[in-house]
């Protein structure tokens, strides 16, 4: 496989980078019918008031636990779903309520790589047919066969694989087929929805390297979804952390890991199990263990969605007033009344901040 050394991460928040996709106050509700006669519907608040901008050439990572709305957000961005509220702009054009017919020409600009390399490839089609299908749909290519062979070699497969079926390939190879299919129409944007979660670690690294080198080669923009904070750090320029349908923190990748501001991000970072080794030998980290489970998005908690599990919860404030995303400098934003002052921190330190500290800090940032 060709793993050309990737350039230093381009900080896409740089001035002059033009936005590819902008979403504002995006909200998506899914009705859940209850009872035999399907009266009295409730709503799953899948995405709530999300505003994000994806700049050309960058990788925006979206990270969060299952059910936090990260996939729904990405699907709204590429208009596979129609939002309940808010709007979506692609290259400056408002596509929020475009019809299927209107969207069709746009589809070739936006592609998706899916999580499960087993169920996302039709088992009855050959690799050549699978990768060639986008050309057939959009009538863009005459010499499909050669293009497909070219794509196969680009993603590190052999052109001789053209006539084989998906079952003849391993998980990592199948994911390469999925990547080739996404690349076929030379899209501007690829949504990578947990593309390496189903793969073994040794193969994960192969696919991540492939995605990085393709980005440089084809000038691609990625929206990269993952629940894995280690994976997302390796590929993202900026990262949005989501919790129960909301973006709770947004920052340049390095800033987020060096100094998370939201207690949820802090807890997530400290919960990642890892071989922790320092000079003195094997050691165990101080871990912030959150109690309880992720709340149901059918009835999300009032005000700050994180307050029932938050170690810094202040009654009468966090459960009354919804915190808005506020700036901490250098494009770093977090939605918390009592942001984390420094990092790393132990659980006790996180639990007992002085209110004056966090306010002084916020004032300093502004």
């Amino acid at each position: 496989m060709t793993a050309s050394p990737a350039a230093t991460p381009s900080v896409a928040a740089r001035p002059g980078a033009s936005p590819l996709i902008e979403v504002e106050n995006l909200t998506k509700l899914f009705p859940v019918k209850q009872g035999v006669f399907a009266r009295g519907t409730q709503n799953v608040h899948a995405v709530q008031d999300v505003s994000l901008t994806v700049y050309r050439g960058e990788t925006l990572g979206i990270v969060g636990e299952s059910g936090c709305g990260k996939s729904t957000t990405a699907r709204l961005m590429v208009r596979l779903l129609e939002p309940t509220g808010g709007n979506v702009r692609f290259e400056g054009e408002d596509i929020t309520h475009w019809s299927h017919r209107q969207l069709r020409p746009l589809r070739r600009e936006m592609q998706i790589i899916f999580q499960d390399p087993y169920s996302s490839l039709n088992p009855r089609k050959t690799v050549g047919q699978i990768i060639g299908e986008p050309f057939a749909i959009h009538h863009t290519e005459r010499d499909v066969k050669n293009r497909v062979r070219d794509l196969l070699s680009r993603v590190g497969l052999s052109p001789e694989h053209y006539n084989r079926y998906p079952h003849e390939f391993s998980g990592g190879q199948r994911q390469r087929i999925g990547v080739a299919r996404a690349l076929a129409l030379q899209p501007k944007l690829i949504v990578c929805d947990e593309p390496v979660s189903a793969l073994d670690v040794s193969v994960q690294a192969q696919i991540l390297n492939l995605l990085k080198s393709l980005q440089d080669e084809f000038d691609l923009t990625y929206v990269f979804i993952s629940h894995d904070l280690s994976v997302i750090r390796q590929i993202s320029d900026r990262i949005a952390v989501m919790y129960v349908g909301r973006v709770v923190e947004l920052a340049d990748s390095e800033l987020l890991y060096e100094h998370p501001r939201h207690p949820y991000t802090a807890a997530l970072l400290s919960a990642v199990p890892k071989p922790q080794t320092d000079g003195s030998g094997f050691s165990r980290r101080q871990r912030i263990v959150l109690t309880g489970d992720v709340p149901s998005p059918v009835s999300p908690p009032a005000a700050c969605v994180f307050h029932p599990r938050c170690p810094r919860f202040r009654p009468g404030h966090c459960d009354v007033e919804t915190p808005l995303l506020r700036p901490f400098g250098a494009g770093h934003e977090a939605a918390c009344h009592y942001p984390v002052e420094r990092w790393p921190m132990t659980e006790e330190e996180l639990r007992g901040p002085s209110r004056a500290d966090s306010q002084a800090e916020a004032a300093g940032a502004n």
């Binding site: 496989m1 793993a3 050394p5 990737a6 230093t8 991460p9 636990e65 299952s66 391993s170 998980g171 990592g172 190879q173 073994d200 670690v201 040794s202 193969v203 994960q204 690294a205 192969q206 991540l208 390297n209 990085k212 629940h227 894995d228 904070l229 280690s230 994976v231 750090r233 390796q234 990748s253 390095e254 890991y257 807890a267 997530l268 970072l269 919960a271 990642v272 199990p273 890892k274 071989p275 922790q276 080794t277 030998g281 094997f282 165990r284 980290r285 871990r287 263990v289 959150l290 109690t291 489970d293 992720v294």
Partner: protein, 339 residues
Amino acid sequence: MTPLLDVRDLSVRFRTRDGVVQAVSDLSFTLRRGETLGIVGESGSGKSVSSLAIMGLLNPALTDISGEVVFEGTDLLKTKRDQLRHVRGRDISMIFQDPFACLHPMYRVGSQIAEAVLAHAKVSKSKAWDRAVELLGAVGIPNAKVRARDYPHQFSGGMRQRAMIAMSLVHNPDVLIADEPTTALDVTVQAQILELIDRVKKEFDIGVILITHDLGVVAETATHVMVMYAGRAMEYGPAHEIFNAAQHPYTWGLLESMPTVDKRLDVLVPIEGSPPSLLHPPPGCPFHPRCTYRFAPCDIERPPLVPIPGGHPDACHLPAERKREVWEKRVGAELGVVG
């Protein structure tokens, strides 16, 4: 102290239509009270199959198992099936990856745990229920008395796994086998369950076998580690040695290819290629086709699992000196462990 569980030369072969699959070959390890043995490997490395073989849960009509699994002086592989039932679930219990698939959707969680109590003890139903409630409380289910009356769908993923752990503890087992217990869970919940397993190990003074593909999970909880590849042990030793002085090229590869939260790397170092088919395992060392350190004997002669001087056992032909040098100069240095 005599080991709780002593596994010697365990081999498992599946007879399939395409031929014989050599799923596990010559696996040996011991487990003592208070230890957590982490078995790490990628999919298809034989880690789950070996635990199923220990529990006697493989279909004897389709599998050939050889070797010894000695538990309290008896070889479980030679024990009759109806006698094995007294061991299984009582002395050795097991929890699985997907806690939803393990609970019956139409029975209350409490009664399923009570059923496990009744399987091995002659007590009244109400006593069994009380034991279920007590254990649910012990594994951290809030308001256990009420929640025991819930059905599995009313529990979250983390709570279901807690319920499974409660069920595995009903008869104060000696050995708990946890097969990917946190793979289906979110990281914040995973942290809770790992803490619980560790607490249970100490409180009940048992031995734990933790099977996982995640080196991070092992590093946090295991006292000993066995790295498996293509059905064989590649490296076996105390956890701090594996993470501070790994000896096998495959372990190096795993450690290097793992993305880390601590820093961003320009390029990850993958292990090229993919694991071999167990229908036709390669001759010599099973890892040699992917190994960047291979030399003359690797594709002909299979290296045995033997200790190196001043280290722990591994299965690799590289001279001990060279292993130490590669770890200290390259792999360990890059991971920030040495130097």
